[in-house]
């Protein structure tokens, strides 16, 4: 009896030996295993088309091309890596430190904080629905998740690692050796596999089943009268929100110059112009999706708007009202003076709240191959997924029912 108890305790703690960690053979619930053993997306939106497959339009409009087709094992390995501080220089932060599932895959901070303990340049964008994005980062300078994620991995003020150390660290870890071999057909462990696995996990973060989506599919009772009023303000050509935050993803994926203020004392962020060299894009940023936007305050690249109401009010402050003296920005033509009423701003917020859907939240690992505790965002209780107390996805770590 006592032996049994010890075994059970050992099992419950997990993480001690290589065979404790096995990768899930199941796709996350947003995806379905196809005959080739790949996880692919199925959504009601696939019943609709969109012009030139751009995934922009109105209520019944198809999605942009999706990044899917990873194996369940790659996705599950990516999940473990995502939470593992082993990937940072000093084992202090992981992807999840700034993209915490409990905080809309952001961190609640105006500007994120990396290994150096000081704020980085911009706020952490949410990762919900990144599988559909054709450009990433606030300045839109990266086209693929694999390309993008190497930025934070190796930036001295973010995760601070370097490629060779990361590779060696993972190769030295028996758990990871085993898991990478499982996910990548016994190929030698390589950095590209790290990037693929992280991209696979991020691509599985699908949120397309909000109350708004029910309305879009034709269930008009899914929204209240106030929320419908908000939808009509949102898509009206007075407020013009939908012109750039275009359904169904609520982004048109373009660079837009808004003239958003910086935090007090901060210089103007040149945005896209810094990476493209095109001075006309000074102050331009990638239009972010608004899905799950209610979860990711504070807002804008500078994170200096505390609430949705405050953010919405920016757009009715007058064209260029926050542009610093001496700056000549090519402000977007939709930035004008719509003179939205307080009631309209309130209804806009009502509507934005209907874009929340976390049904496909992934499970937080109970333990990691490194033996380190999973990294969490600021103020989020550590521990397994039950701390979230909301929907979780299954993995092989959970005990399958008989």
């Amino acid at each position: 009896m006592r032996i049994l108890l010890v075994i059970l305790l050992y099992w419950a703690q997990g993480s001690a030996s290589a065979d404790t960690f096995e990768l899930s053979p199941f796709c996350p619930p947003a995806l379905r295993l196809d005959d080739a053993g790949r996880c692919t997306l199925h959504s009601q939106y696939q019943a609709y088309g969109s012009l030139y497959d751009k995934g922009v339009g109105g209520l019944k409009t198809g999605l942009p091309p999706v990044r899917d087709g990873f194996t369940p094992q790659q996705i599950d390995l990516g999940r473990l890596l995502f939470f593992d501080p082993l990937l940072s220089r000093d084992g202090s932060v992981a992807c999840s430190s700034c993209h915490d599932p409990a905080l809309g895959f952001s961190d609640g901070r105006a500007r994120s904080v990396g290994v150096q303990g000081t704020p980085v340049q911009r706020s952490a964008p949410s990762l919900w629905n990144v599988a559909f994005l054709e450009r990433l980062l606030w300045d839109g300078s990266k086209q693929t998740l694999e390309e993008q994620l190497q930025g934070p991995l190796y930036a001295p003020n973010e995760m601070g690692g370097d490629p060779q150390t990361l590779l060696t660290t993972l190769q030295d870890n028996a758990n990871y050796r085993h898991l990478f071999a499982t996910a990548f057909d016994d190929q030698p462990l390589a950095l590209n596999q790290v990037y693929t696995a992280l991209a696979a996990f991020e691509s599985s973060l699908i949120s397309l089943n909000s109350r708004y989506d029910l309305y879009a599919h034709g269930v008009h009772s899914a929204l209240t009268a106030n929320e419908k009023e908000g939808l009509n303000v949102f898509r009206s050509f007075v407020a013009r929100c939908a012109e750039c935050h275009t359904p169904p993803l609520f982004t048109n994926q373009q660079i837009a110059v808004l003239g958003v203020p910086e935090a007090e004392g901060r210089p103007l962020d040149p945005g896209a112009a810094a990476t493209t060299g095109d001075a006309s894009q000074r102050g331009g940023f990638r239009v972010p999706s608004l899905r799950n936007i209610a979860l990711t305050a504070p807002y804008m690249h500078a994170g200096n708007f505390a609430s949705l109401r405050e953010t919405a009010a920016f757009y009715t402050g007058g064209r260029g009202h926050a542009v610093p003296e001496g700056e000549e920005l090519n402000l977007h033509w939709h930035i004008w003076d719509p003179q939205l009423s307080d009631r309209e701003l309130d209804r806009l917020v009502d509507f934005l709240m209907t874009l929340t859907d976390q049904a496909f939240l992934p499970e937080i690992p109970l333990a990691l191959p490194s033996g380190l505790p999973p990294a969490r965002g600021p103020g989020v209780a550590t521990g397994g997924s039950h701390a979230l107390n909301i929907h979780t996805a299954p993995t092989a770590q959970q005990k399958a029912l008989p």
Binding site: F26, A47, Y48, G49, L51, G58, L214, R235, S236, I335
Partner: protein, 483 residues
Amino acid sequence: MTLSKTALFNLTTTLLLLAGQAFAAVHDVREGDSIQAAVEAAQPGDTILVHPGIYRETVYVDKDDITLRGVVVEGEWPNLEGDKQLNDAILYSGNGFTVEWFKITHYKGNAIMGQAGNNFSIRNNWIVDTGVYGIFPEFGENGLIENNVLSGIEDAAIYVGMCDYIDVRNNRVFENVAGIEIENSRHALVEGNIAHDNTGGILVFITPGLPIKTSYDAIVRRNTVINNNTPNFAIPGSLVSTIPAGTGIIVNSGDDVVIEDNIITGNNTAGIIVTSQDFATGVAGDPASDPNPDRVQILDNVMFNNGGDPATEVKALMLTQFSTTGPDILAYKGAAEAERESCVSRKSAYRTYGLEEWGDCTSPTVRAADAVGSAPALAGTTRDVTTKMLPEPATPRVITVDANGAKLVYQGICAGCHTYNIRMIGPPVMAIKAQYGDDATAIAQYIAAPEKKRPDFPTMPPQDHLSEDMRLEVAKYMLGLNK
């Protein structure tokens, strides 16, 4: 009493026919009623008749195949009145939307705005001072904008934005900043319109920074474009605020545009301006957007008395040719280059600027026999093109009630709580199969109005938003899962 088999068959057939037609209802709306309430009550295929009177509301139509028709009685129109308080008169997203015979006045945003509604018909409306745009279909495929009269719009009266396969025919647009604008759209026929006393009459544009990047295959034909000399009153910062007063037709970056058989007179800056994106400044760059207008064909057009008082920048250009008046046709910067492969018919008939490198596409003489309906296509003209709309409607957007549709619904909704063999919010499919066997009907009934069944699971939210047939298909799909 017994029915013969034939009689039974006939009865069944009749009932089926009736069932098919029973959905097309007519809803009457009279002054004091809400048009929106009628929209809520309407089913696809229904017609809403709006009788004369003043209606102060925003009507939004998020259903397919709704017809909104005004009833005009002895000159009295149903009038949607925005009082400069309301944003938009009519918003639609459904396919197959028809709106006609409305007077729409004094809104702040639009009279009629579509977002990804296909197969639309916007006809016979009378629109005055409705803010930024008058008629604005966006992201639409296959539509008709015909016989509308629009004035007093501070941007484009008719604005076709990011659309395909659109006819804009026989409208009258006047005293707007822009009369008709085809922007980032393809396959458009702009024919038989009268555009007068706007700042600019007809525009074919590529605007950079939009998600759909191209504008090509437009025919601008048989329009009357006269005296478009109204001072520009657009909102500062808007794209049309850079259009010089006195512009008849302007092609900004659009490709494969044919301008043919128009009457273009009395436009004080120029009859036709063809330009690349450097004509309008102040817009952030977009490397995915081609700035140059390629393969523009200016065929026979009647043009005179254009350029009488050109805008400053055009006047400066003309002074380099020792002229103080504007041209009939102006090709500006990139548009003037030979590699654009643009051409003009009877170049020497017009006063031009920048056409030195353009080719010759002289039109044939058209005789009466060529204009008969059954006449064969006449080379060098577009006479054989009668429409740019699609021969068949754009594809319906329907989640089919079958195994395919059920898979989408199951993955989109059910999979958030149920997985095959692992406990999530709801019980695993294995456990459900053990309980229900192959009784999909019982599941379909249960999920419409669930009650708490398992003490250790929360009560399932009702899925009565799905039709009974769809619930059955989804239940069958779920019971068919084996992994």
